[in-house]
C-alpha cells in the first residue's frame, strides 16, 4: 500500500547521519589510539578529521529531528509520541528531549561540543584524551542506532521507527487507510513537562554529565601515559566547570520541583534525583583532592579514584534511570526501551577499563611516605572529600535496592519514610563537611601552628554558636543533629566570610572558593530551616469533624474549602472564591485575609491550578507566595473538575441502619427511624400492601433541620416499588430501595443534582520559612565556582 503524505526522506537522512556519526566516532577512536601509540601526527589528523565529521553529523541529525518536530511529521513514532499540533512552538526543545532518544542526542551533542573545544588547541594529551572521548561517543551513538545486527536490535532511533510499523500499533485499522496522516494528531508532550524548566533543566544537567567525562579522560590518560601528576593541570579547571554546571543542573531540578510540581518541596530523595546528586558529590571530593595534589603533591590515588568514580556514577545513573530497573520505586524514570543490556555493557566497559588501568599502574603510582600534619589544610580537605564519598555511597547504595533485588531475588523496598531515612544519615555528614568547610581555609598547606589557628578561628566559632543558639530557640529546633547542623552551617558561612575579608584586597579572582563555600553554607542552612521547619498549615478547620474517625484525623494535612466560605488557616483566613478556565488550565482563586485591628484585610491571592489534559491526564500545579523570610506554597490536592450540569444527577447507593449518617454535598443525612405505615399522603395503599417508611433528618450547612420521608412498598408479596423523598430546592432525591432483615439495614439511593452540589476544593498549604537562604546559597555557590574556574584557567596559563 502507498501511504499518502509521509516524509520518509527526513527519516532516511536522519538515520544516515546517525550511522555516519557512529562510524565517524569509531574511526576517530581508532585513529587517535593509533596516533597515541605511534605518536604519529598523521593518525592524529585523521582522528581530528573524523571527530569533526562526527560532530557535523551529530549537528545534522539534531537538525533533522527538530525539522520533523516543527513540521509535525506524526508518521514517526517519536514525533507522534512527544509533540502535537496544538503545542506551542516554545516547547519544541522540551519535546526534543522528553524521550530517551532525544536526551541521548542531547548528551552526544554536548560531548561533541566539548570534544571540539579540547581539539581547538593541540597538546600532548590530545590523542589519548580524544581516543577516550570518541569511545564514549561510539557507545552513546549506538544507543540511537536503531539497527538490527545479527538479530539484536541495537539502540532505538527516532528516525527509523514509523508509527504504523511500531509493534504496539501496527495492526490498528487506522493504518489500513492510506491517507491516515490527514486525520492524525500527536499524543503530545506530558503536561507536567510543559514549562520553561523543561527547556533549561535537561540541557544543563546533560552538560554537567558530559563535563564529568573530561577529568575522567585526563585521569585515564594520565594512568595510561604514566603521567600521573601532569594530567591534573589541564584536568582541574574542567573538574570545576563540571561542579558548577552539574550543581546548577541539580539545583534547577530542585527549583523546578518546588515551583511547578506538586511534590511539596524541593527535594524528595527520589531515585532519579539521587542519581544526579551522587556524581556531583564525588566530583566535588575529587576536585578538592586534585587541589591538594597540585599544591602539595599528595592524595594522588584519591584524586584519580574519585574523579573516575564520578564519571562511572554518571554511567550508573544512566543505567538506573533508563533501563527500567527502578520500576516501581521512582515516579519519573524514563520508560524502558529494552536497552538494558546495551546500557549495562556501556557501564561495565568503563568500570572494567577503570579497574584495569588502576590495577596495572597501582605499583607504579608515586607515593609519599610522610604523614600529613594534623593541622594542615590538606589533611582536613582529605577528610572532607572522604566524607563526601561516604555520603555518596550511602545515597547510591539505598537507591540501588532495586538492583540488589534483581541480582539476589530479594523483595526490598525503600524505607517508608524516605526523607527521614536519608536525613538521619545525611545530616551528620553535612555537619562534618560544613564544619570542616568553616575552618579549612584558615589552615595552611604543610601545617599550621594550632595556637594562632584557633585564636583566628575563635570569633567565628563563638559567633556562630551564639547565632545558632538564638536561631534554635526562636525556631524551636529540638533534634540535636539539626541543631548541630544549624551551628556548623552558620560556622561555615562566617568562617568563609572571615577568610574572604582576609584575602579580598580588591582581587576578585582569589575569592572564588570562599564565595562558593559561603554559598554552600547558605544552601545547607536554607534547606535545614525551610525543610526542617516547614509547616503544613492546611489542617482541616471546617466544621465537619467526625470524631468517630479520630484515628485518621492525626494525619490531617488537607483543608476542605467550599466556594464562598472563609476558613482559618495558619495565621490567615482563606477563601475559595472562584474557578477560572484559562485555555487548558483551571485556576482556583484563593484569597488570603489577615486579621488587622478591628477588620479583616485581604493580603494576597494565589491561583493554584490544575492543568486539564484529557489525553495525558490532569496535573495539579502549585502556586506560591514569596516573602523575604518565608514562602506560602499551595496546591489543590482534589477538586471536581467537570463543570456541573443542571438537570443531571449524580447517584450513589448506601446501606444505612437506624441512626447512621451519610454525607451529602449539601448537608448531613441522619436516618431517624424505620416504621410500618398504613397510609401515605397522596398515595393509595391497597389492603394487602406492606408499606415501610424511613424518616430522615437532613441537616443543611446552616444547621437547619429538614424532615424527609421515603417509602418502600411490597404489593402482593412480589411486586416492589418505592416513593422517593424529594427535596427540590436542594436538588436531592432519596429512594428507599430494599431492606435487609438480617442486618436491619436499608438500601438508599441518593441522587444529587450536579448544579446544586457544592463547589469545593481540597487544598494543601505549606509554609517554608527562610527558603530564600537556599536560593541565595545556590547563586553564591555558582558565582564562587565560576570565579574559581577563571582563576584555575589563569593559573594553567602561567
Amino acid at each position: 500500500m502507498e501511504f499518502q503524505g509521509e516524509h520518509l526522506f527526513s527519516g532516511q537522512l536522519g538515520h544516515f547521519l546517525v550511522l555516519l556519526s557512529f562510524v565517524a566516532a569509531g574511526l576517530s577512536c581508532f585513529a587517535f589510539l593509533k596516533g597515541h601509540q605511534e605518536s604519529d601526527e598523521k593518525w592524529e589528523r585523521l582522528g581530528k578529521l573524523s571527530f569533526r565529521l562526527h560532530t557535523v553529523s551529530v549537528f545534522g541529525m539534531i537538525g533533522v529531528l527538530f525539522y520533523m518536530l516543527i513540521n509535525s511529521f506524526f508518521e514517526y513514532h517519536y514525533v507522534w509520541q512527544h509533540s502535537s499540533l496544538d503545542m506551542p512552538v516554545r516547547y519544541i526543545f522540551s519535546c526534543f528531549w522528553e524521550g530517551q532518544e532525544g536526551s541521548f542526542m542531547l548528551w552526544i551533542f554536548w560531548n561533541a561540543v566539548l570534544g571540539n573545544i579540547l581539539l581547538y588547541k593541540r597538546s600532548e594529551w590530545t590523542a589519548s584524551v580524544m581516543a577516550i572521548f570518541s569511545s564514549v561517543q561510539v557507545f552513546l551513538s549506538s544507543m540511537i542506532l536503531g539497527t538490527v545486527v545479527l538479530g539484536y536490535k541495537i539502540g532505538s532511533s527516532p528516525f527509523t521507527t514509523l508509527l504504523r510499523e511500531h509493534v504496539d500499533f501496527a495492526n490498528l485499522p487506522l493504518f489500513q487507510n492510506p491517507a491516515y496522516l490527514e486525520s492524525l494528531d500527536g499524543r503530545g508532550l506530558n503536561p507536567l513537562l510543559q514549562n520553561y524548566w523543561m527547556t533549561i533543566h535537561p540541557p544543563t544537567l546533560f552538560l554537567g554529565f558530559a563535563l564529568t567525562l573530561i577529568p575522567f579522560a585526563y585521569a585515564l590518560s594520565g594512568l595510561w601515559r604514566r603521567k600521573y601528576n601532569e594530567w591534573m593541570k589541564p584536568g582541574l579547571p574542567w573538574a570545576y566547570v563540571g561542579i558548577m554546571v552539574l550543581g546548577t543542573g541539580i539545583l534547577m531540578g530542585g527549583a523546578w520541583a518546588y515551583e511547578a510540581l506538586s511534590f511539596g518541596g524541593f527535594w524528595a530523595w527520589d531515585p532519579v534525583e539521587n542519581a544526579s546528586l551522587v556524581p556531583w558529590l564525588t566530583l566535588v571530593g575529587g576536585a578538592h583532592l586534585m587541589m591538594i595534589h597540585r599544591n602539595k603533591g599528595t592524595s594522588l590515588f584519591g584524586a584519580i579514584a574519585l574523579v573516575m568514580i564520578s564519571f562511572l556514577l554518571v554511567l550508573y545513573s544512566t543505567f538506573l534511570t533508563r533501563s527500567g530497573i527502578l520500576g516501581d520505586s521512582s515516579v519519573h524514570a524514563f520508560t524502558d526501551l529494552g536497552m538494558s543490556g546495551q546500557l549495562l555493557l556501556y557501564l561495565l566497559f568503563y568500570i572494567v577499563l577503570t579497574i584495569l588501568a588502576i590495577a596495572i599502574r597501582f605499583r607504579d603510582l608515586p607515593r609519599t611516605k610522610k604523614e600529613e600534619p594534623l593541622w594542615s589544610r590538606e589533611f582536613w580537605m582529605f577528610i572532607g572529600a572522604l566524607v563526601l564519598l561516604v555520603s555518596a555511597f550511602q545515597i547510591i547504595f539505598n537507591t540501588s535496592l532495586p538492583v540488589i533485588n534483581k541480582i539476589f531475588g530479594t523483595k526490598l523496598a525503600a524505607p517508608t519514610d524516605i526523607k527521614d531515612f536519608y536525613n538521619s544519615w545525611q545530616v551528620p555528614f553535612a555537619v562534618i563537611v560544613s564544619f570542616i568547610m568553616g575552618f579549612v581555609q584558615m589552615l595552611r598547606y604543610h601545617g599550621s601552628k594550632f595556637g594562632p589557628f584557633i585564636k583566628k578561628l575563635s570569633i567565628a566559632l563563638l559567633l556562630s554558636a551564639a547565632l545558632a543558639i538564638a536561631a534554635a530557640l526562636s525556631l524551636e529546633f529540638q533534634n540535636p543533629f539539626l541543631i548541630a547542623l544549624l551551628w556548623t552551617s552558620i560556622f561555615a558561612i562566617i568562617g568563609n566570610t572571615q577568610y574572604f575579608i582576609e584575602i579580598w584586597r580588591g582581587k576578585v579572582r582569589k575569592v572564588g572558593s570562599s564565595v562558593a563555600h559561603v554559598g554552600f553554607g547558605f544552601i545547607l542552612l536554607g534547606a535545614l530551616i525551610s525543610a526542617g521547619k516547614s509547616d503544613k498549615i492546611s489542617m482541616n478547620t471546617s466544621s465537619f469533624d467526625i470524631t468517630a474517625l479520630s484515628e485518621e484525623m492525626s494525619n490531617r494535612e488537607n483543608l476542605l474549602l467550599v466556594k464562598g466560605d472563609t476558613l482559618p488557616m495558619g495565621k490567615y483566613l482563606v477563601s475559595y472564591t472562584d474557578r477560572i478556565r484559562e485555555d487548558q488550565n483551571l485556576r482556583f482563586k484563593i484569597d488570603f485575609f489577615e486579621r488587622k485591628d478591628q477588620g479583616i484585610n485581604k493580603v494576597f491571592t494565589l491561583f493554584p491550578f490544575v492543568q486539564l489534559n484529557p489525553r495525558m491526564g490532569n496535573v495539579p500545579e502549585p502556586d506560591t507566595k514569596h516573602f523575604l523570610d518565608h514562602d506560602i506554597y499551595t496546591h489543590v490536592t482534589y477538586a471536581v473538575l467537570e463543570e456541573p450540569k443542571e438537570g443531571e444527577y449524580d447517584e450513589r447507593e448506601a446501606w444505612m441502619a437506624v441512626h447512621d449518617t451519610a454525607f451529602l454535598s449539601k448537608g448531613i443525612l441522619f436516618l431517624d427511624s424505620i416504621f410500618p405505615v398504613k397510609e401515605i399522603e397522596d398515595q393509595e395503599i391497597e389492603p394487602g400492601d406492606i408499606a415501610v417508611a424511613a424518616k430522615f433528618e437532613l441537616w443543611d450547612f446552616n444547621t437547619v433541620k429538614h424532615d424527609l420521608y421515603a417509602y418502600f412498598i411490597l404489593r402482593d408479596t412480589s411486586f416492589v416499588f418505592n416513593i422517593p423523598a424529594i427535596k427540590e430546592d436542594m436538588g436531592l432525591r432519596l429512594s428507599f430501595q430494599s431492606i435487609d432483615p438480617q442486618t436491619e439495614k436499608i438500601q438508599i439511593k441518593i441522587e444529587e443534582e450536579q448544579a446544586e452540589k457544592k463547589d469545593f476544593i481540597v487544598l494543601q498549604a505549606i509554609v517554608f520559612p527562610y527558603i530564600n537562604l537556599l536560593w541565595l546559597g545556590c547563586v553564591l555557590m555558582v558565582i564562587g565556582t565560576f570565579i574559581a574556574v577563571v582563576q584555575r584557567l589563569k593559573l594553567r596559563k602561567n
Binding site: D168, T416, N555, E557, G617, S665
Partner: protein
C-alpha cells in the same frame, strides 16, 4: 597507627553501617496475604484498582481519607484506606503501589504511587485524531 589508618577504619565502619541500615530499615514488597499475616508492619503492595466496587472519597467528612478496593498481583482483594486526599486522575491508574500496613481487615496506606498509562506508556494513535 597512622592517622589515615584510623580514618580509613572509621570510613569503612560507617559504610558498613550504611549498608546495614539500608537493608534493615527497608520495607518489603509483599502481597496482601503476607501483609495481613504480619499486621501493623510496613509493606509495599502492588496491585490494581477494582473498578467494580465503589471508591469513596468524602472530603466534607475527612479530606485525608480515601477508601477503595485493590486487587494485588495474586488476585486477593482488600479494602484500602488511604490516609491522603484522593489522587487526581485516580481512576485512570493502571498500577498502584501502596505503602502502609494491615490493620484489622483493612489495609491502611500512608502513601500511594500511581502509574498512569497515559503518562508512562504510549497511548494509542486511534485516540489522537485531529480535533475538528
Amino acid at each position: 597507627m597512622k592517622k589515615l589508618h584510623i580514618v580509613g577504619i572509621v570510613v569503612i565502619a560507617v559504610a558498613i553501617g550504611a549498608i546495614i541500615s539500608s537493608l534493615s530499615d527497608s520495607s518489603t514488597y509483599a502481597n496482601f496475604e503476607e501483609a495481613f499475616a504480619t499486621p501493623e508492619s510496613e509493606f509495599h503492595v502492588v496491585g490494581t484498582l477494582n473498578r467494580d466496587k465503589a471508591s469513596v472519597y468524602e472530603p466534607e467528612v475527612n479530606p485525608d481519607l480515601f477508601t477503595f478496593y485493590m486487587v494485588d498481583r495474586e488476585g486477593e482483594e482488600r479494602q484500602v484506606d488511604l490516609l491522603k486526599s484522593k489522587p487526581q486522575d485516580f481512576e485512570r491508574s493502571e498500577q498502584i503501589v501502596l505503602i502502609g500496613q494491615a490493620k484489622g481487615e483493612v489495609f491502611r496506606a500512608t502513601d500511594i504511587l500511581l502509574k498512569c498509562p497515559s503518562k508512562y506508556n504510549d497511548g494509542n494513535p486511534e485516540e489522537t485524531g485531529k480535533e475538528s
